[in-house]
Amino acid sequence: MDAMETSKKKEWRTGVQVFLGLAALTGLEYWAGVSEWPAFTLWAIAILKAALVVWFFMHIRRLTNPEEGGHA
């Protein structure tokens, strides 16, 4: 039970870190947009945000690792 609680807290912590990264990138994106930075910088930020979501929230690596995700 303790191991499960530790594992949950670890995953929650990762979620917080990813969220903070996404929030910072969104802030930077907004600032870059209103400051009229070149479009490619906005696309670069968007791709970085998308990569974080796909990797950490959508767990794309589970496609090749069926045991991951806690299912029986």
């Binding site: 947009g33 929230f57 069926p66």
Partner: protein
């Protein structure tokens, strides 16, 4: 159950999970083409001009969707660790944030936009992109409603929560689409070209 049978069952379960996940990602890919087409349409028809929209409102709804993804992730992690109470709480928060996003876009942005859906290419592109996305958010909220109901009835556990994983991934996919729509509609280019 013999060891041989147990190994076979485990293998079969792993194969089944791979197939489910692959099917879901193929759906994301096909749906992604729809949104990709809309994104290309926006730049083909409007070029470097962007619609005159409420910048701050755009940032607010983007932040709301981002926060909802955070709570969705928390809900999925909770059920994967048998914490049903936390799963229910985080799913409800995600649904509420989804509804706030819908109100922000459809209830406010659509009313505040200085053009209608039939007012030229600007209106067509804006309402099609946000409308299609809002429809996906709405279906996501409904999907979350189903898993919330089943979760409250105790249908999910650490060993059996594929529906939660699928709903969470769908929700993150909707967020993913907005990650590209937000700069395309609100930030890139200049107002009115």
């Amino acid at each position: 159950m013999s060891t041989h049978t147990a190994v076979l069952t485990a293998k079969e379960a792993a194969r089944k999970m791979t197939t489910r996940r692959l099917g879901l990602w193929l759906f994301f890919l096909s749906d992604g083409f729809v949104f990709g087409g809309l994104l290309v349409t926006r730049f083909y028809l409007l070029g470097q001009a962007r619609p005159h929209l409420e910048q701050f409102l755009g940032l607010i709804v983007t932040a709301v969707l981002l926060v909802s993804s955070f709570f969705m992730n928390r809900a999925e992690v909770s059920i994967a660790h048998n914490d049903r109470k936390s799963f229910v709480r985080n799913t409800v928060i995600t649904m509420l944030l989804g509804i706030v996003f819908l109100v922000g876009v459809v209830g406010f942005e659509w009313q505040l936009a200085p053009f209608g859906p039939a007012d030229g290419t600007e209106g067509a592109v804006f309402y099609m992109m946000t409308g299609m996305h809002a429809f996906h958010v709405l279906t996501g909220v409904i999907f979350l409603g189903f898993i919330l109901r089943n979760g409250m009835r105790g249908h999910y556990s650490a060993e059996n929560h594929w529906a939660v994983e699928a709903a969470a991934n769908y929700w993150h996919f909707v967020d993913l689409v907005w990650i590209f729509f937000y700069p395309a509609l609100y930030l890139i280019g200049t107002v009115g070209g």
